[in-house]
Subunit: 148 residues, 2 copies
DNA sequence: GTTTAATCTGGCATAAATTGGCATAGGATG
DNA sequence: CATCCTATGCCAATTTATGCCAGATTAAAC
C-alpha cells in the first residue's frame, strides 16, 4: 500500500520522479509500472493502472446519458491520462493536469493506500495549515467510530 | 477506452487533429479510423463508427411513439456526420456542427470511455468553473457507491 | 567514517505529434 | 459553362514527448 509523503521537483517538460517506494508497491502489488493520473478537487490523484481499470469497468456499466454520470465522466474520466514510468523512474504529467493542480516546479506526493495524491507544494502547505486541529479532531472521531 | 482531456486548434477550414491517444484506441479497440460526430447539448460528441452503429441498433428497438424519445433521437441522429481520419490524423468538423458548439479556433476533446466530447475551449472553461463543489460532491458519491 | 549503491535531477538528441499553408479536386450555384 | 465554395491530400515548420546519459544528492553497506 502507498504510504508516506515525498517532495519532488518537476522538469520544465513536466517530468517527475515517482518515489522509489511507490514504484516498488506498484510493481509488487499490481505487477505493472503504469499510473493513471486524473484531476481531483485541488490536486491530482494517481492510481495504478489495474486499480483504475476496476473503476472504469464499473463506471462503464452505469447509464451513459444520466446527468450525474455525464458530469462524473467529464470530470474524472476526462482528466485521466495514463502515465507509464520510464527507465529513470519518472512519469510525465501532461500540461492540462499540471495547470489544473497549479503545479509548477515543486510538488508533494502523498501515499493514500490504494492511490497517490499529487499536490503543488505551495497549495499543499496552504491546505495543511488550514486542516488544523478542528479537522483533525473530526477525523479522529471517525477513526474512533470505526473501532480504531 | 477513451480518457483524458486535450486542447487542440482548428484550422480555418475546420480541421482538427484527433489526439494520438484517441486514434490509437479507435484503431485498436474498434479496428477503424472513422468517427461519427453529432451535436449534444452545449458540445459535440464523437463515437467510433462501430460504437455508433451499436447505439443505432439499440435505438431502433425503442418505442417509437414516445414523443420525448423521438425528439431526442431526431436531435442526436439528425446531426450525425461521418468524419474519417485523414493521413495526418485529422478530422473535418462540418460548419453546422462547429456553429452549434460555437467552436471557433480552440477546442477541448474529452475522453468519456465510449465516446469523446468536443467543446469550444471558452465554453468548456465556463462549464468547468460552474461545475463547482456541489457537482463534484455528487460525482464523488457515485465513486463512493461503486466502492472506491 | 569511508565506500558503495541507489535515487533523483537536469540536459541533450531523437522521434512523434500537432499545426499551418498551399494546391488540387469535386460539387453546388447561378 | 464559369465561378465560387468547401473538401481533401500533401509538405514543412513547430511544438511536445520520449529515451538515454551523466552529475548531484541521498541512503545504505561495510
Amino acid at each position: 500500500m502507498f504510504r508516506g509523503r515525498y517532495e519532488h521537483t518537476v522538469t520544465d517538460t513536466g517530468r517527475v520522479s515517482v518515489p522509489a517506494k511507490f514504484r516498488e508497491v506498484c510493481k509488487d502489488k499490481y505487477g505493472d509500472e503504469t499510473f493513471v493520473v486524473t484531476n481531483f478537487d485541488r490536486c491530482l490523484i494517481a492510481y495504478p493502472l489495474k486499480e483504475w481499470n476496476r473503476i472504469e469497468n464499473k463506471v462503464a456499466e452505469l447509464p451513459q446519458f444520466r446527468k450525474d454520470v455525464i458530469s462524473f465522466l467529464r470530470y474524472l474520466m476526462g482528466g485521466a491520462v495514463d502515465c507509464p514510468i520510464d527507465n529513470q523512474g519518472r512519469i510525465l504529467i501532461p500540461q492540462t493536469l499540471r495547470k489544473h493542480a497549479k503545479i509548477n516546479k515543486e510538488l508533494v506526493m502523498i501515499g493514500m493506500l490504494t492511490r497517490i495524491e499529487i499536490w503543488s507544494k505551495e497549495i499543499w502547505y496552504e491546505e495543511e495549515s488550514k486542516m488544523a486541529y478542528e479537522e483533525f479532531k473530526k477525523s479522529s472521531e471517525i477513526l474512533a467510530n470505526q473501532g480504531l
